[in-house]
């Protein structure tokens, strides 16, 4: 139950969506693009999100694309996480997405919604940080930008812009990979640490969620991990020096414990690659 009312708009083209936003804004409204709407509901009921005009992007065909071209995988932002995992065109994404919420909720949560959400974890971000990926963003113009550049703690969207698609180089979809989600206890709940990794051109890439209030990939951390001249233990000790701050310290676990879990997890990652292609 929300304390606020809003207008609802369901444009069927990108252009229409952008122009509705602009008109609403001129009318003094606080419009918000959304896909699944789960976060609008859960944060809205706590008054942590507010909008008086929601723009539903689910009816825009470009936002629902799920296809392989010669060179790329194109995924619409309004695809549900379930739709992604069932087609499983991007196995690492399927794995990270399956860590989000629960199966029924994933029938509603969208790829774009997870990537652009407020929640710390946003695990669907990780595979795109690791691969040669691009974000297609609609606003006054449609721009396609390297995901790595446009994602810095949050997806850097301008006012009136929204995420339309994610495009990933086909060659990156089936690289050796590793994914692990570590929780406070057993199988349910937010991550203490989620690590997604691929190995490309002999180099291990790592993206992490749950450790900080945002998902990240750190080049320095990776450099340390890829320093094959020293022992795994030394590499890990060096790598954790490059974890950005702040490290979460909350109901899931202390910062100190998260580092302990991260170290173990990094070791698992490195050992998994040593054991051969996985």
């Amino acid at each position: 139950m929300l304390s606020f009312d809003f207008d609802y708009h369901a444009p069927s083209t990108l252009k229409e969506a952008v122009s509705i936003y602009q008109i609403l804004e001129r009318q003094g409204k606080q419009p918000l693009f959304y896909g699944g709407g789960t976060e609008v509901l859960t944060l809205g009921r706590l008054n942590l999100v507010y909008s008086d005009a929601l723009i539903d992007i689910k009816n825009i065909p470009e936002c629902r694309v799920q296809m392989l071209t010669d060179k790329h995988l194109v995924l619409g932002a309004a695809l549900t996480l379930t739709a992604l995992t069932e087609r499983n065109l991007f196995p690492l994404l399927s794995k990270t997405a399956r860590g989000v919420a629960d199966h029924t909720a994933r029938n509603k949560i969208t790829l774009g919604g997870n990537i652009c959400g407020e929640i710390f974890y946003r695990e669907a971000v990780l595979p795109f940080l690791l691969t040669d990926s691009y974000a297609v963003i609609a606003g006054n113009e449609i721009r396609t930008v390297s995901f790595d550049e446009v994602f810095n703690q949050f997806l850097q969207l301008g006012k009136g812009e929204f995420l339309v698609q994610l495009i990933t180089n086909r060659n990156d979809l089936r690289l050796p990979q590793f994914h692990i989600k570590r929780r406070k206890q057993w199988n349910i709940g937010y991550p203490l640490v989620t690590v997604a990794s691929i190995k490309k051109a002999g180099t291990v890439r790592i993206a992490i969620s749950g450790l900080c209030p945002f998902p990240f990939r750190s080049k320095k951390l990776e450099e340390a991990l890829n320093n094959n001249d020293i022992s795994i233990e030394s590499r890990i000790n060096e790598a954790i020096q490059h974890v950005p701050s702040p490290i979460l310290h909350d109901v899931e676990g202390s910062d100190e414990y998260r580092i302990f879990v991260l170290k173990n997890t990094l070791q698992d990652v490195l050992e998994s690659y040593q054991g051969g292609e996985s």
């Binding site: 304390s3 570590r182 406070k184 206890q185 057993w186 199988n187 909350d250 109901v251 202390s254 414990y257």
Partner: protein, 776 residues
């Protein structure tokens, strides 16, 4: 047996799988108003001012209750204002109540109430509360009205102290060769019933107060509305439809009072107050926390000689039912062992935490975690098998309890039999700890359990049976169907007694305190025993009435007759008889003359020979019988990262007599799941300011599908002679040993004493590092 022991489907089964089952919040009517609470963001703060001006501007607002002094409430000590005045004492406490035409308006308005607080120092645990310079949660406890036999200690945070002084503790120590001391602690947690609490109140023009509520204690609501607001008990009518889980949490009376006040504020109109999940977790009463110290002494051979126990129960901001919980903690303060010298102080402590209500097991899962962890520490020190130590000291008929009740073969189950069965099921001879080929450690932990029900000495239960013209029976009892299936059990008891097909027994599910005979409260695993006795008495009464009429018709003596199989007939000549349908509405002769009338059987049962506890020694008879059992947990532990899986959980319980096999198994498995999750994950996380940081299911996590272990449930049957067909209560017992057994298994697996809950990997990691600091 005709039907006892059979897995009869629940009487309300079809309603529950079709969505037709009605719970309190499903009831709506035109014109019904909606209330919404504003909650305190502080655990302890002075209320400086409350401004409702903006809130009143929301259309549809009918009343705002805030800052007003209403009668203080509380079951033993009246220390709780229904809506906070002067100060707030816990995070989530009700500070204001808005009544509006619809729930959105009420919510919106509540968010616009402006409250200025001045934060006060917080009492964040019972141990802190006991410190000499601790802030006082209640400054003037001596001024509160209270019942007899409760003694708040002025200028402290002690709401009550129950003392057990059995034998001579000094003698016990002198006879002991080995002693061990254990300290345990855990924070409050919650029942987290799937149905959040909901109450609807209306004050009719004729002065009748009608409350519909999701409660385990509708008859207590009636009494308390009378006590607090002076409404005649006959004019308070409480309805309780099906309840979506209680586990003790709905035995406390809270929302009913607020709904009543809300209705009164709007001229008696019907007002609904429905808890959000967040409110249900923290605003409504929670599961008690505990800090405990246990010192045990035994001979070199492992015979217990002395137990010195301090229980500091975290009753939270208001004492309500927590006093009674702490009292029950004294009653069974040891595990189920023969110990001649027992010294125990069980205290109910005020803190700035959400206040406590009963929780399934009523102090027993809590105290058993403390006691049974210490027993394992003792076994370790003695170098004795922990199961053997328990077997040696198992309580037996002829022994006495801490409150010095002499036990016999009826009021006590067979603990050694339970231990032996557990040993077999857990393949104990294969060892307690082993390393698997994959490096994981398998470990088994066990504990013994017992429980009596510390309940009011005059608790009673009534049953009415009315017959239908077709010879079938309506069973009307004040037991609330909270999920335990008790009303189906009662139907089985009646079916057995009347040798009548269960299909011909119609059970009224809804309770209405005006038309349903009283059942004290649907708590304490007492439904089968008390209401079952009432059913048997009512059946006896009905049978007598049937026989009386039939004796005339059949020209025989009442004593010649028997009722069974839907007929009343001559015992020695069963073919001579009449169908029940022809007598239960009176018998009509061919000429129209009629004798008798509708058969209405009535029965009541009141617990007998219960006594209060002696204030100095604790001597007294607090409950009717002790159910016993032995439980075990097997874990697979990863010593590298301290994660673990629960592989198997075992319960062997002396249930007296199994009435419904699958229902009993289900009760025990469900209780085990709840106990394991309490032990392994569930706890409120408090910050330094006493705020609960995890008041949602996203962060407060009950067990989910797939996280459950394999359950093994086995019953021993030692009949309780005075119980219906010998059956003992079993609603709680599956839970109460689980945290201890899990703690024991993990302590063995990790080779470190784990004396805190919840047993999350981070806790084990800290314990291994020798650093037991709280998380945040």
């Amino acid at each position: 047996m005709y039907i006892i022991g059979k897995s009869v489907y629940r009487k309300e089964a079809v309603d529950k799988v079709t969505g037709e089952a009605i719970y309190t919040n499903d009831i709506q009517s035109p014109g019904m108003l909606h209330a919404r609470m504003l909650l305190s963001p502080y655990a302890h703060a002075r209320i400086i001012s409350i401004n409702t001006e903006k809130a009143w501007k929301i259309p549809g607002v009918r009343a705002i209750l805030a800052g007003e002094r209403f009668p203080l409430t509380g079951e033993e000590i009246r220390d709780r204002p229904p809506i906070a005045v002067d100060k707030v004492r816990y995070f989530g406490e009700t500070v204001a109540l808005v009544v509006a035409d619809n729930p959105v308006q009420a919510k919106r308005a509540s968010e616009l109430i402006e409250v200025v607080y001045e934060p006060l120092p917080v009492v964040n645990s019972p141990t802190e509360a006991m410190q000499a310079n601790a802030p006082l949660v209640h400054e003037n406890i001596e001024s509160y009205e209270k019942v007899e036999r409760v003694n708040p200690e002025p200028n402290t945070n002690i709401a009550n102290r129950t003392k057990i002084r059995k034998g001579n503790i000094q003698k016990g120590w002198s006879e002991s060769d080995v002693t061990v001391e254990g300290t345990v602690s855990f924070s409050p947690s919650d029942h987290a019933a799937m149905e959040t609490r909901c109450s609807i109140a209306e004050i009719r023009q004729d002065g009748y107060v009608v409350i519909t509520t999701s409660s385990q204690a509708p008859f207590m609501v009636k009494k308390l509305i009378n006590l607090y607001f002076g409404i005649d008990t006959g004019k308070v009518i409480v309805n309780t439809p099906l309840v979506g889980g209680g586990y003790g949490g709905k035995a406390a009376v809270q929302l009913e009072i607020l709904a009543f006040l809300a209705s009164r504020a709007v001229g008696g109109k019907k007002v609904k107050l429905f808890n959000t999940r967040e409110e249900d977790l923290v605003t409504s009463p929670c599961h008690i926390g505990l800090d405990a110290k246990i010192k045990l002494g035994c001979t070199r051979n492992g015979y217990l000689k002395a137990a010195e126990i301090l229980y500091l129960f975290d009753g939270g901001a208001y004492s309500d039912k927590a006093v009674d919980v702490s009292r029950a903690g004294a009653v069974d303060c040891t595990g189920p062992y023969h110990i001649e010298n027992v010294w125990c102080d069980s205290l109910c402590i005020y803190t700035n935490h959400p206040y406590a209500s009963p929780f399934r097991g009523f102090s027993h899962s809590e105290l058993l975690f403390a006691f049974e962890r210490t027993m394992d520490m003792l076994a370790q020190k003695l170098g004795l098998d922990p199961l053997e130590l328990r077997r040696k000291n198992a309580i037996l008929p002829g022994h006495t309890t801490p409150t010095q009740v002499r036990l016999n073969t009826s009021n006590l189950g067979n603990l050694p039999a339970c231990i032996d069965r557990l040993k077999e099921i857990m393949k104990w001879e294969e060892g307690q700890r082993s390393i698997q080929p994959d490096g994981l450690i398998r470990a088994k932990g066990i504990c013994c359990i017992w429980k009596t029900s510390t309940i009011d000495t005059d608790s009673s239960s009534g049953v009415i049976l009315t017959f239908n013209p077709d010879g079938s029976v309506n069973l009307i009892s004040g037991v609330v169907e909270i999920g335990t299936g008790t009303k189906t059990i009662l139907a089985q008891i009646l079916s057995e007694r009347l040798k009548m097909p269960i299909e011909l027994i119609h059970v009224r599910m809804k309770v209405n305190t005006q038309t349903t005979p009283e059942h004290w409260k649907t708590v304490a695993s007492r439904g089968t025993y008390m209401a079952g006795r009432a059913v048997l008495e009512a059946a006896e009464d009905a049978v007598e009435q049937i026989k009386k009429v039939a004796a005339c018709v059949l020209h025989g003596a009442v004593s010649d007759l028997e009722v069974a199989g839907g007929r009343v007939f001559l015992k020695d000549e069963p073919s001579t008889g009449i169908e029940l349908k022809d007598v239960v509405y009176g018998y009509t002769y061919p000429n129209g003359n009629t004798i008798g009338g509708q058969v209405i059987g009535r029965g009541t049962y009141t617990l007998r020979r219960m006594t209060y506890l002696d204030p100095q020694t604790g001597e007294g008879r607090p409950g009717p019988e002790w159910t016993v059992g032995a439980q075990g947990v097997e874990v697979e532990f990863n010593k590298r990262d301290f994660t673990y899986k629960i592989i198997r959980a075992v319960s062997v319980i002396d249930i007296g007599k199994v009435i419904n096999e699958k229902a009993a198994q289900g009760q025990v498995m469900g209780a085990m799941a709840m106990g394991l999750c309490f032990g392994g994950r569930e706890s409120f996380v408090f910050d330094e300011q006493g705020r609960v940081l995890n008041a949602q299911f996203r962060t407060y996590r009950p067990l989910r599908y797939g996280e459950n272990p394999e359950y093994v449930v086995s019953f021993v049957e030692t009949p309780q002679i005075d119980a219906p067909y010998g059956a003992r209560g079993v609603g709680e017992h599956g839970l109460i040993g689980m945290p201890a057994a899990l703690g024991n298994a993990l302590s063995i697996a990790a080779e470190v004493n784990l004396n805190q809950l919840p047993l999350i990997p981070e806790l084990i990691w800290r314990a291994k590092k020798g650093n037991q600091h709280a998380l945040i």
